[in-house]
């Protein structure tokens, strides 16, 4: 198992280039490369990192690259892993942005997007339904996502306020429980 910076960089470059459609498509590929093929980290370490990456703010792919890079080769490992993951999307998007400024208003392009946009909504609805099923919602908490959806989607409230309110509520709840126990 080579832990050279170059092989770390190219492994994460491959991961970054071939995962289209979000972090959930990316995770099996990352595991295959980093755990099964290169044996840079154990499966347990990988799963710990994945859980941390999912609970930390920011893109999950970026978070897990930071964690894995650090585990494999400390600071430099982290930098090259991060660079590898992000470079394909940065280059692609700069090219697309350049094309987009010239061709976005062509009739054929508009017609393509006319078909793309409703399909995009479907792409979000399906995982939403699946996540809702897995979230173990019950009578005491099902209103939380509903209220969040209405506030942000219909009333234009910034998600920041909901997240801050949740954190404040949870910290208060933990302090209250602690106070009752002691």
């Amino acid at each position: 198992m080579s832990k050279s910076l170059l092989s770390i960089f190219f492994t994460f470059l491959k991961i970054g280039a071939f995962t289209i459609g979000g972090a959930y498509a990316m995770i099996p590929l990352i595991k295959r490369e980093v755990v099964d093929k290169h044996r840079w980290v154990t499966e347990d370490d990988f799963l710990d990192g994945l859980a941390a990456a999912q609970s930390c703010p920011g893109p999950i792919a970026v978070n897990i690259s930071i964690y894995l890079g650090l585990h494999i080769r400390k600071g430099w490992g982290m930098l090259v892993a991060l660079l590898g993951t992000m470079l394909p999307s940065i280059i692609t998007i700069i090219l697309v942005a350049e094309l987009f400024t010239h061709y976005a208003d062509l009739p054929l392009v508009r017609k393509a997007f006319h078909g793309l946009k409703p399909a995009l909504v479907a792409l979000i609805v399906v995982p939403l339904i699946e996540m809702t099923k897995n979230a173990k919602l019950n009578l005491s908490n099902f209103w939380v996502p509903l209220v969040a959806m209405v506030l942000v989607g219909l009333l234009g409230v910034s998600p920041i306020w909901l997240i801050l309110a949740t954190i404040v509520f949870c910290v208060g709840q933990s302090l209250w429980l602690k106070g009752r126990l002691s």
């Binding site: 995962t19 394909p88 989607g153 949740t166």
Partner: protein
């Protein structure tokens, strides 16, 4: 508009984007469309659609795209660095504390509850993207067909998007 404003905005987006992917959309829309007007609602939906067909996380793609449109290559680098900076700091802390933080009950409690909020934020993204997407019978039909195909056959999202684009070019 200054680089500093762009940088600060994307740091904020990075810091408050819990739950990854679709849950971040409402946050980006709020900042980029509603607050700063860097993109129209329709352009924002275009960018999200493009992100689905190109590699990489949507937050990175949106940051690069908007940065590039507003201020060229440097703009795209500044925005992209901004959006990952909170991840960089927080993941460093979590990893270097050997993930102990994550095992603390009060820390776990926060993320348990944030998961419910995250569901709502994805729901909000459906509303926000839907607003810019539905404009008649054609779009409703494409939506229902995509939903059925994606739900039933679990096709690769890129294939679904390419199919929808072709349908749009022919019938849209």
């Amino acid at each position: 508009m200054s680089m500093l404003t762009m940088f600060a905005t994307f740091v904020k987006i990075g810091l408050f984007s819990f739950g990854g992917g679709y849950a971040i959309l409402a946050m980006i829309q709020q900042e980029v469309v509603t607050r700063h007007g860097w993109l129209t609602a329709s352009e924002f939906t275009d960018v999200v659609a493009i992100s689905q067909m190109t590699p990489g996380p949507i937050a990175i793609n949106a940051a690069t795209f908007i940065g590039y449109q507003q201020a060229g290559i440097w703009g795209s680098l500044v925005c992209t660095f901004g959006v990952i900076l909170p991840s960089l700091i927080l993941m460093l802390v979590i990893t270097l504390t050997y993930l102990k933080l994550r095992k603390l009950p009060w820390f776990k409690n926060i993320f348990q509850k944030l998961r419910w909020v995250t569901l709502g934020l994805i729901g909000a993204a459906v509303i926000l993207i839907g607003k810019g997407s539905f404009d008649g019978l054609f779009s409703v039909l494409v939506f229902l067909a995509s939903l059925a195909v994606y739900w039933r056959f679990k096709v690769n999202p890129i294939h679904l998007m390419l199919g929808a684009a072709v349908v749009g070019m022919i019938f849209g």
